[in-house]
């Protein structure tokens, strides 16, 4: 896969859909592409968050270790997804492990390049904010539901 193909793949990701092609090429060029077999670990819980990833081929599971040590798949990552940006943004360790569930190709966007991109491409920053806002919205909804459930349970 060449840069040109990578750029085409990137376009399919909502984050990057509206970005200038030259900027996308720059993103691809400054990233590191790699492949993983099924079962390969993309990133591990507790490791420093030094990069974000763009899954371009294949899909992956997001696994969290619960307090009692069980490993629970909390989400699946389909292709054309941008992941791992939270740990980079907040400069905290990874909160989950991501394992390839089929052979996977991804771009690794280093921390420096990620921040540089945020600074240089306002569209990207906006898209990121929109995405985070959506996630917050989802979480809020979930929290409200959970609370409602607890309160309902408490009245029992």
């Amino acid at each position: 896969m060449t840069i040109v193909e990578e750029v085409e793949a990137l376009r399919r990701i909502p984050y990057f859909a509206t970005m200038d092609p030259a900027k996308l090429k720059l993103l691809a060029f400054t990233s590191h592409r790699f492949s993983l077999p099924a079962g390969g670990v993309l990133c591990r819980e507790g490791e420093p968050g030094d990069a974000a990833y763009i899954v371009m081929e294949g899909d992956a599971d997001v696994i969290v270790t619960t307090e009692d040590g069980r490993r629970v798949v909390v989400a699946t990552v389909p292709k054309n997804t941008f992941i791992g940006e939270m740990a980079v943004l907040r400069n905290v360790p990874r909160t989950a492990t991501v394992v390839a569930s089929s052979p996977l190709t991804a771009l690794k966007v280093g921390k420096d390049a990620f921040f540089q991109l945020l600074r240089d491409v306002p569209q990207f920053a906006l898209e990121l904010m929109r995405e985070l806002a959506e996630r917050l919205e989802d979480t809020t909804v979930q929290l409200r539901d959970a609370r409602a459930k607890i309160e309902a349970g408490g009245q029992d």
């Binding site: 720059l26 590191h32 592409r33």
Partner: protein, 876 residues
């Protein structure tokens, strides 16, 4: 230092000056005779006076003055006309030689005198910098002061030789010539004297403003150099504040001022020159007219006229030089005064405080009595503070930032001085202690310790190079050379220390001699938590295989072992170098060279211009293909980097093309698109881009198998055809040989890291660590790491590494009292605590003062002193 330049010169060189003066005096009679000879030759043998009818005349008689009884010392020779002509002519030739030799000898002596005094002056200036108190140093602009030592005093050196000798020599010569002319004909003499007087009085008058301008020029130029230095230092802040245009305006104004001054100088200078030339050329007019008149009238012989003109021809030279000397004198005096003014200080450190010699270990107590310390603004950092503790205790200084703990720590290490009160160590006020006490028995680490532009090892050893401990062992011719050098150093009043001697204080390191130095340093480096960095530097460092064959052998063994281990993994993380295969992870250039360039000839950036390479590419037809490839790269680079500001970090990290060259490639591409041709140089640039390309890494889809096969063929041909004398310029990859031009890590890996394998780096590091541990190479690699060059002002080190290094350097001294004053501030708190713990354990029974950040645990200390608002917050 003496206020007046002449006093300074006379004081430091009167012996030599007197010798030169004596030589000048000795030379004048010969000069006079050489002026007189032309007259004798023309009047005598040439015109035939007194040789009528084959008569002979007596020459070379040396009469004795009457007061010595009269008569002749040498009766002289009786010569006929022809013999007289040749005898006199050859005498003239002899005198020319003698005068020339005098001049040569005098010049050499003057030059030596000047160089010695320049050397002394520069040395004294630097010596003063070394003796400035810290407060005085804060007012110094480094760029200005170094330009003074380097450039501004330089003309003074030239002047020293001239100071006394020139007026004596030229004045003597001019006077001789004038006397000679007057003796021939008083009127001609009067004319000569008159014109010379105009030159001597009017021209200096006209030149005086030029001197004043010269002084201004010097000042403005010095300010400019200071400003340029400031711009370089503040570059980041200028960018951050978008004030580059303000700086441009400032520089423009300064340059304009310098231009005005310089132009004015030129204008005036050339007018003076014009006047000077005019006067010089108008004199012969008088000589021809007036002298000719007397000659025709018979009152002056032709010989005399010729001699007068010859003597006059010699006159403007000395006079002009004398005038130049006068100006130079003025100029030199001004320069000297200005330089001395800059180096003036109310108080200098007493030279005795810098005298070599070890100081007895510190004992008893450190007592701070009623000490008040203020900064430049007068704000009190410490206010009449008193406390005491044992020299061997571990003491923590705590309190809020700026509350006084920092000033107290600096005060005890004599980094600051008290306004009132005293600090006493072992019963001695520290003001009076020599630097061998404060600099060797105490080690101070501040927040911004300076890292020298030397190797890590030299930086670590810096604190124990206090005085020559063991003279350098010179033998044979080197010994004589060293002796001569020492003598010359002394004559110029320079330092009596030999830089080639062994200065290291091995006792401080706890070892006997040079053999254990690296080992001892590694211990200290580990204490400061720098060992992992040193090890990394070692892996990235170069190693000379001849230096330690045993290590080389083990490194080669490590290469083999690494390969074996690497092969056991599921995926390859390193693609090994193989002479028969194209290495997909390496660039095209690396694949072609299949080795590492030594020096510039075959360096990657020069490869495309290399004749051998060029020829091979053309022969194989790869030339056109690589050009197309380079063009593809250029197109992509221009496309993606065009919009970025030139100082964007991506250029350095990722771009094939430097920001400054991007427009050039842009035009080049436009030309190509328009179907225009490019020059061979531009063509080579495009191919140069191709040489940095690796398909695996850059993924532009430009390299195919056919090209790879061709490149392998070119590699083979290149190795075959490379001339013998060029082979030393490339270290070829050879599985059985250590490659001295590649880093230690590259030598062990012997290949390129495979792209696109996640965690390849982690796996490589793991195998590397195993292999190195197994073969016991760790110490050897760390030793290579100690040779890591830190870069100017330690710029190649990260701030945290610099701070660790500064602490390690203090520990190397093994001081009685270690003062750590916010020295690890850039490290995270847990790292700081780890180092603190290790250092305190290592220094059990030896004094430590450590300023702690708020919240840091002080339980490991014997004693805690709290500061707040410049006062004690209650000692525990």
């Amino acid at each position: 230092m003496e206020r007046r330049l002449f006093t300074y010169i006379w004081r430091h060189s009167f012996g030599e000056q007197l010798r030169v003066l004596a030589l000048i005096l000795l030379s004048l009679p010969f000069y006079f005779v050489s002026l007189n000879l032309p007259k004798l030759i023309v009047n005598g043998p040439i015109q035939g006076d007194g040789f009528a009818d084959g008569a002979s005349r007596t020459y070379f008689s040396v009469p004795l003055p009457d007061w010595l009884g009269g008569g002749h010392l040498f009766p002289g020779l009786s010569l006929d006309q022809m013999s007289a002509l040749f005898a006199l002519s050859f005498t003239f030739l002899g005198l020319v030689c003698v005068n020339g030799l005098f001049k040569y000898r005098i010049n050499v002596m003057k030059g030596r005198m000047g160089e010695r005094l320049l050397r002394r002056l520069r040395y004294e200036l630097v010596d003063r910098i070394l003796r400035f108190y810290p407060q005085r140093l804060r007012r110094v602009k480094p760029a200005e002061i170094s330009s003074m030592v380097k450039d501004e005093v330089e003309p003074l050196g030239g002047f020293v030789g001239e100071a006394f000798a020139t007026p004596a020599y030229l004045g003597g010569q001019a006077l001789t010539a004038v006397i000679f002319i007057v003796l021939q004909n008083p009127l001609l003499g009067a004319i000569a004297v008159g014109i010379v007087s105009i030159q001597a009085f009017v021209i200096p008058y006209l030149r005086r403003p030029i001197l004043a301008l010269g002084r201004q020029r010097q000042l403005t130029a010095r300010e400019l150099s200071g400003r340029v230095g400031e711009i370089v230092d503040a570059a980041a802040d200028i960018q951050a504040n978008d004030t580059s245009n303000w700086e441009r305006a400032d520089i423009t104004r300064r340059l304009g001022r310098i231009y005005d001054i310089r132009f004015e100088i030129y204008r005036r200078k050339f007018f003076v020159k014009f006047l000077n030339n005019f006067l010089a050329q108008v004199t012969p007019f008088f000589f021809y007219a007036v002298g000719g008149y007397f000659a025709i009238k018979g009152q002056l012989s032709i010989g005399q006229l010729v001699a007068v003109i010859a003597a006059y021809k010699d006159l403007p030279g000395p006079i002009k030089e004398l005038l130049d000397w006068y100006l130079e004198k003025q100029d030199a005096q001004i320069k000297y005064e200005q330089v001395v003014e800059q180096f003036r200080a109310d108080r200098l450190i007493d030279p005795a405080a810098h005298a070599p010699g070890d100081y007895a270990p510190l004992a008893n107590e450190v007592e701070v009595r009623e000490a008040t310390v203020a900064d430049e603004t007068g704000a009190r950092l410490l206010d009449a503070v008193s406390f005491a503790f044992g020299v061997t205790q571990h003491v923590a200084f705590v309190g809020p930032p700026g509350g006084g703990k920092e000033a107290a720590a600096a005060l005890i290490a004599r980094q600051m001085s008290v306004r009132s009160g005293t600090v006493v160590i072992g019963g001695q006020p520290i003001e009076g202690l020599p630097q061998s006490a404060t600099g060797r028995r105490i080690a101070y680490v501040g927040q911004d310790a300076y890292v020298f532009g030397a190797s890590l090892r030299d930086n670590l050893l810096y604190g124990i190079r206090n005085e020559p401990r063991c003279a350098a062992a010179h033998v044979g011719p080197a010994l004589a050379l060293a002796e001569a050098r020492r003598l010359e150093d002394g004559l110029a009043g320079n330092a009596p220390f030999d830089i080639e001697a062994d200065w290291l204080d091995y006792k401080a390191l706890g070892i006997e001699g040079p053999a254990g130095v690296d080992w001892a340093l590694m211990g200290v480096v580990t204490l400061a938590g720098l060992e992992a960095d040193v090890f990394r530097f070692g892996l990235q460092g170069r190693f000379d295989p001849e230096e330690a064959p045993a290590v080389t052998e083990r490194l080669l063994k490590a290469r083999q072992l690494f390969k074996e281990r690497e092969m056991t993994g599921d995926v390859d993380v390193v693609e090994p170098f193989d002479a028969a295969l194209y290495n997909a992870q390496a660039t095209i250039g690396e694949n072609l060279l299949f080795g590492v360039a030594i020096g510039q000839t075959y360096a990657p950036q020069n490869l495309a211009q290399n004749r051998t390479v060029k020829h091979l590419l053309e022969e194989s037809g790869l030339d056109a293909q690589l050009f197309t490839l380079g063009r593809g790269i250029a197109e992509t680079m221009v496309e993606i980097f065009r919009g970025l500001p030139p100082d964007h970090p991506f250029f350095a990290q990722f771009s094939f093309i430097a920001a400054a060259e991007l427009p050039l490639f842009e035009t080049l591409l436009a030309r190509l698109d328009a179907g225009q041709t490019v020059t061979p140089d531009q063509r080579a640039r495009m191919i140069g881009l191709a040489f940095s390309y690796s398909e695996a890494r850059h993924r532009l889809g430009l390299l195919d198998d056919e090209m790879r096969a061709k490149l392998l063929n070119v590699r083979r041909l290149f190795h075959e055809r490379l001339p013998q004398h060029e082979r030393a310029k490339i270290a070829f990859y050879d599985a059985a040989e250590y490659n001295e031009a590649a880093s230690v890590e590259d030598n062990i890996l012997f290949g390129r890291v495979v792209y696109g394998v996640p965690n390849a780096q982690a796996r490589i590091e793991q195998i590397l660590a195993e292999v190195i541990a197994e073969l016991g190479l760790k110490d050897d690699i760390a030793r290579i790491g100690l040779g890591f060059p830190c870069g100017a002002a330690g710029k190649r080190l990260a701030p945290s590494q610099r701070q660790r290094l500064a602490l390690a350097r203090a520990l190397v001294k093994n001081p009685d009292l270690l003062v750590v004053n916010g020295a690890l501030a850039v490290l995270d708190p847990s790292a700081q605590n780890e180092i603190l713990k290790r250092v305190l354990t290592a220094r059990t029974g030896r004094g430590v003062i450590w300023t702690l950040a708020p919240g840091q645990d002080a339980s490991a200390f014997d004693n805690v002193v709290g500061f707040e608002g410049g006062r004690l917050a209650g000692a525990a």
